[in-house]
């Protein structure tokens, strides 16, 4: 809409291929970007969006394909090369040095260097220039504020100011709103529109359909590392994008059938639980054999709530009843002793000891019961591990394989097996399918349904709308660390959940 067809686009990526050991992350992907355009890049987790953008930002080098800027082929061997071509990448996890001040971060790597590394820092000039840039992104803090004192939203703005300081022509934003509040997101959208008006080209990666539909001029969709297609803003609808993103794999039988369940007795009653850092207490009840979904944006306080239930960070107040008896774990061991287990979001860091074998990981939380006279009963350990590996059909040549060598889906199965071996009452699954490929996902879903049918109560935190709706019997929706609503099975819809989890302010911001 902005460039005539005779002019070469500002940026063109053709046939980009990137392989990592064991996986093809990108296969023959293309992308076009014009001046003064906001291009949304969409796809499921693992579709290759971030990889593609890291190639554009110079952090990764492609194994094949071509990048053209205004029709001229370029090669980026490093982040510095990309910066020289005026491309700025803003990462999802913000890349600021917390020990430096705002001005120092804005000009980091971009200082005036008259004498190489030993050039004096021109603090006064930097502060002055930083003040002007901060004003452009709507921040009023002085440029000498330490970054550690800023909120996440302010840090995001500092990142944009940093991109502006580079005189970037292309800014890539990787899920910029994932940890912003509604008000902060609104501010960000204003600035994006302002930058577009100034002629900046912006690649915007997001999972949030509403944002994408409101902001973007065009949408490029990737699936499983391949280019699926482009949609002009005018043709784009929610349904069209989703169907392109998930392809045919997300058919009706992707999620196991949800049989109607007769009402059962409550297992976990959470009453006015005060989670550290939350502004108000939380209450809900989970029943026997139920999958209770927890929907919300990143930072809505779901993980923190689960950590309080699991005793990682004990609650500051309120009560919990487990099977009618008081339950107030002060550490994880007390929760485990009562049969409450957590499969964490970051399974590589919190779920498994990666250099240990499947068998060792399986026995880890319960290792005392594998010991006789202080000696580890390895044959019992192997037997249990073998049983769990068979139950979950973990794809591995043996139970002596180290967890680090398994794929994401199989790692998650080992985590589940480890807890299953200990007969859970309540299983907390935090983002159970994050970073897991489609095939393994369906398997995990099937196992979850089976476990629920056996009477295990599952608390499932998920940021994927389809997953929340497809799997949950009921859904607790959280926003800004409060419970905004608990939806019964009949009320479950993407629209209703979306409304509750974004709050009204966000919707106003998006209504242009």
């Amino acid at each position: 809409m902005n460039a005539t067809s005779s002019q070469p686009p500002l940026l063109e990526m053709r046939g980009i291929t990137k392989r990592f050991p064991g996986v093809v992350a990108l296969q023959d992907v293309q992308l076009r970007l014009h001046k003064g355009e906001v291009l949304a890049l969409m796809g499921e987790n693992g579709a290759g969006k971030s990889t593609l953008m890291k190639i554009l930002g110079g952090a990764y080098q492609p194994d094949g394909g071509q990048i053209l800027i205004q029709g001229v082929p370029v090669t980026f061997n490093s982040v510095r090369d990309a910066k020289r071509a005026c491309i700025a990448l803003i990462h999802q996890e913000l890349m600021l040095a917390p020990n430096l001040d705002v001005a120092g971060n804005i000009f980091l790597g971009n200082e005036r260097k008259s004498m190489g590394l030993l050039s004096p820092l021109t603090r006064r000039q930097m502060n002055k220039a930083a003040t002007a840039l901060l004003r452009r992104v709507g921040l009023t803090c002085p440029p000498t504020t330490p970054v550690a004192r800023l909120t996440v939203g302010e840090m995001q703005m500092v990142e944009i100011a940093k991109a502006l300081a580079l005189e970037a022509r292309i800014i890539i934003m990787d899920e910029p709103t994932s940890s912003l509040t509604a008000g902060e997101s609104q501010k960000l959208f204003q600035i994006i529109r302002q930058l577009r008006a100034e002629g900046m080209a912006i690649v915007y990666i997001s999972h949030r359909m509403e944002e994408v539909l409101a902001l973007s001029d065009r949408i490029t969709i990737l699936r499983d590392g391949r280019y699926v297609g482009d949609l002009e803003r005018a043709q784009a609808t929610h349904e069209k994008i989703v169907s392109m993103m998930v392809g045919r794999e997300l058919s009706a039988n992707y999620f196991p059938a949800k049989p109607a369940k007769p009402p059962t007795e409550p297992v976990l009653v959470v009453d006015n639980l005060l989670v550290p850092g939350a502004p108000s207490p939380v209450s809900f009840t989970a029943h026997r054999g139920e999958i209770l979904g927890f929907a919300g944006l990143v930072g809505a306080g779901r993980t923190e709530l689960m950590q309080a239930i699991f005793g990682v960070t004990p609650a500051l107040g309120g009560t919990m009843l487990l099977d009618g008896l008081p339950f107030a774990p002060q550490n994880t061991r007390e929760a485990i002793a009562r049969g409450v287990y957590l499969a964490p979001e970051d399974r590589k860091r919190h779920g498994l000891v990666l250099p240990m074998t499947i068998a060792q990981n399986t026995s880890l939380p319960d290792v005392r019961n594998y010991a006789s006279l202080g000696f580890l009963n390895r044959s019992k350990e192997r037997e249990v591990a073998r049983h769990e590996v068979q139950r979950f059909r973990v794809k591995t040549p043996s139970i002596e394989v180290k967890a680090v060598n398994l794929s994401g889906g199989n790692q998650q199965k080992v985590v589940l097996g480890k807890w299953l071996a200990m007969r859970p009452r309540i299983l907390i699954l935090d983002e159970p399918t994050r970073g897991i490929d489609v095939g393994a996902k369906a398997e995990i879903y099937r196992h979850m349904a089976e476990l629920a049918a056996q009477g295990i109560t599952i608390l499932m935190v998920s940021s994927e709308m389809e997953e929340v709706i497809g799997m949950s019997d009921r859904v607790v929706v959280m926003q800004e660390r409060r419970v905004r609503g608990i939806l019964e099975r009949a009320e479950l819809s993407a629209h209703r959940i979306g409304q509750l989890m974004t709050g009204h302010a966000d919707r106003e911001a998006l209504a242009v």
Partner: protein, 397 residues
């Protein structure tokens, strides 16, 4: 209390003046940890002066200053590495090796017993050669750490042992005498000799230390290089994604560290006069302790040159204080007696001081973090409450 008659009002005023003159600017510059350690240092010095007047006697002051200077030179050097989040365990061995090399190259030649002395070349050859070797070692270690992606702890641990062995081989397990070379003057002499101290009141190592301080403070706090050192320690990934030449900067910090070890090695060689393989053992730990006491965080990204100076002072004042501290009392028979600390307590006291210092720092840190969380929670709650009100207010209006 009659026993502390040497304390006069002027002493108290002087100590108070120094305390304020140092602490106030540090507070204003936001150097919280540095200020805390400075106050501790002055209090410590005052306590030692109260117990023993000679603590501030001319010869003790000159001697302690010399010790502080020699430690401070390489404590500042190692801080460059620590601020990037690395560690350099080889620096003590570099101190020793530089001294041994100088003794070997420029030590006096004894025709009847060549193994006891050096080769007798000019110091103009010996010192530059030894410093070049130090810098080269730093470069090699830095390249191993950055290009092969090895852990700094392991690489410099290997360097520490290997270089110690090299020193041992050169001295053949014995000692090398520098003999009668002008270098001896460097560490023992100084400017402005007086009758009381004919060797000078401003020891030469202090001059070198001041030079190192000025250069280091400029490089670390006022240049792009220094900014990169902090950025790497604060968030290595952010530094990489900001296009900073992380590997080159990191490698250079190891060169700086090793070179500072070399400079200190020259001073120690001159000071001791006889080089054996023992010189410099455990010095890397003193340097790390001085840096940490001065507010350098082993996690990286934090620390100042001023802090390292204060940390070095504390280390050496404690060491000196263990010798100087005395308690005069009268026993039951009314006879004046002197109680002194056992020299063997040195390590117990230094170790305890380091532990107490980091514990206090952590307690303050936890306390502040808690206060900040509470404040942030209150703000978030207020904001949420404010956000919840307007729609209703709008309806009413």
């Amino acid at each position: 209390m009659i026993l502390f008659l040497h304390i006069k009002l002027i002493h108290i005023l002087a100590f108070g003046g120094v305390l304020l003159a140092g602490a106030v600017p540090m507070r204003l510059a936001g150097l919280r940890r540095e200020m805390g350690m400075f106050v501790s240092l002055i209090c410590l010095a005052f306590a030692l002066f109260v117990s023993n007047e000679d603590f501030l006697g001319q010869s003790n002051v000159i001697n302690t200053t010399r010790q502080i200077s020699m430690l401070g030179i390489f404590a500042i050097g190692i801080s460059f590495v620590i601020i990037t989040g690395g560690i350099d365990l080889s620096i003590g061995s570099i101190v020793g090796l530089t001294g041994v090399l100088i003794a070997k190259i420029s030590g006096q030649y004894y025709p009847d017993n060549p193994a006891a002395g050096g080769m007798g070349y000019s110091l103009w050859i010996g010192i530059p050669a030894a410093l070049a070797v130090a810098a080269l070692i730093g470069l090699i270690q830095g390249l191993l750490i950055t290009r092969l992606d090895l852990q700094s702890f392991i690489v410099t641990l290997g360097g520490m042992l290997l270089l110690r062995g090299v020193s041992q081989t050169i001295v053949k397990g014995g000692t090398l005498s520098l003999g009668d070379v002008p270098l001896i003057k460097l560490a023992n002499g100084g400017l402005f000799p007086t009758v009381g101290s004919p060797d000078g009141t401003v020891p030469y190592p202090l001059l070198i230390f001041v030079g190192v301080i000025l250069v280091a403070a400029y490089v670390l706090h006022f240049t792009v290089f220094g900014r990169y050192v902090y950025a790497i320690g604060g968030n290595r990934e952010a530094a990489e994604y900001s296009g900073i030449p992380v590997k080159r900067v990191e490698t250079l910090t190891y060169v700086i560290s090793a070179l500072s070890g070399g400079i200190a090695g020259v001073c120690y060689a001159a000071y001791i006069g006889q080089m054996s393989q023992q010189v410099g053992i455990a010095y890397e730990l003193y340097a790390i302790a001085a840096a940490v006491l001065g507010g350098v965080s082993l996690r990286g990204g934090e620390g100042t040159v001023v802090g390292v100076i204060i940390g070095s002072c504390i280390m050496k004042v404690i060491e000196n204080g263990i010798n100087m501290f005395q308690w005069i009392y009268r026993d039951r028979d009314g006879i004046r007696r002197l109680w002194r600390l056992d020299n063997n307590w040195t390590f117990i006291i230094i170790g305890a001081v380091i532990l107490v210092a980091v514990m206090l720092d952590q307690v303050v840190h936890i306390f502040q973090a808690r206060r900040r969380t509470r404040k942030a929670g209150a703000i978030a709650a207020a904001a949420a409450a404010a956000a919840a009100v307007p729609p209703q207010a709008a309806k009413v209006g």
